[in-house]
Point group: C2
Chain length 198, copies 2
DNA sequence: CGGTCTTTTGACTAGTCTCAAGCATTGTGG
DNA sequence: CCACAATGCTTGAGACTAGTCAAAAGACCG
């Protein structure tokens, strides 16, 4: 179905996902405030994924017509939007590697690092802690694990002192350690100001 | 490192890959004739992946300066390039799902279907057959399997009549069956003329 | 023809899944 | 304000997919 507008996530958490023929869900990205989850629809006629909220969200809508006018009138803006979609692609590539090559703790640590850095970039991290309203079953769908396995991995990470959780609040006691376990190198996020440390 | 030009694959097969800190390789996409594997470098300063050839290749180079001029003078071309990168992203999303949710035969079948359809689109498929100079170890790196496992999966697929190989030539005896096993729906490739059947 | 790369095989191991149940937390209606 | 859904988290045991290690057999190339 062709969409005539894109949405901008103002607050809250969402995710982009796809379903297999067998009905299994793969979350292909987490969307945080500032993201435009369906910017691609500006140039692709058919949608090949869906978006779901993971918490209460506020969203803004922009019509494709307005976006297109903006792009023609201000090439620099067009370039910036294009660049945004290229960064999304870079993140997908990293996820392919994460799901394909890393196991258990390492895989989990990597997405947590990614989330922390991205959230930090929009000011949602304080003292290595942030609010993360993502259920274990959502993590499972994102990592290609089962909920049961995510639970066990998280427990292990807690006992190893890699993470600390209270409700939806996540705290990273030792950022360097988590980064190392997740083999995390933020280059692929292409942040302007290489704020590698969260 | 900043690149000042992009390359167009004229003939032969290549792949885009990333390495984990531990040295494991994840192939994130196969590049076929007509592809511009590093088009992204036009707007991203740092490269977060590498490209390798899998066979003899002929490539053409275009400087970013020329590309940028082309884009400013012909907005439609800029739009087309942007669209290409969006399709790449759609393929990455599908790969995340493939690696995250499908197992063994199904996972393998899916990439084979994708390759067939993409090769067909550039005229490299005849009678459900094509030349595929991809080693089992390369498939392994693309699928997140080991070479040993790829070998066993392929053997099973041969005995099941899903594929037929002689050297680097791959023939698909029963396209519908392969599509079904791989849960393959070509929507995500966003081909202009929905040539779903290869 | 020797050397290298690729494919194939076997036996054993490990990571992850499945099924199944119990517990905790939260929000809601009576 | 409490009871009870509903949802999410935790646990255990057994099964299965895929990995590891090791080596042999083919294929390709200078």
């Amino acid at each position: 179905m062709k969409r005539s507008r894109s949405c901008l996530l103002l607050s809250g958490f969402a995710c982009t996902y796809k379903l297999t023929a067998g009905g299994k869900r793969q979350i292909v990205s987490f969307n945080i405030p500032g993201d435009i989850p369906d910017l691609q629809s500006l140039h692709l006629k058919t949608l090949d994924n869906s978006v779901a909220t993971m918490s209460q969200c506020r969203v803004g809508f922009v019509t494709h017509e307005d976006l297109r006018n903006l792009c023609t009138r201000h090439p620099r803006i067009a370039e910036a939007f294009w660049r945004e979609t290229l960064i999304d692609a870079a993140i997908f590539r990293e996820w392919v590697m994460n799901v394909g090559q890393r196991e258990g703790t390492s895989r989990m640590a990597h997405v947590l690092c990614e989330l922390m850095v991205r959230l930090k970039a929009v000011g949602l991290v304080e003292d290595h802690a942030c609010d993360l309203p993502i259920t274990q079953s959502e993590f499972a769908d994102a990592l290609g694990f089962t909920t049961v396995h995510v639970n066990r991995v998280l427990q292990q990470m807690r006992t190893e002192g890699l993470i600390f959780t209270q409700g939806t609040r996540l705290t990273i006691p030792d950022w360097e350690k988590l980064k190392q376990v997740g083999e995390f190198d933020p280059t692929y996020l292409h942040l302007e100001n290489g704020q590698a440390a969260a």
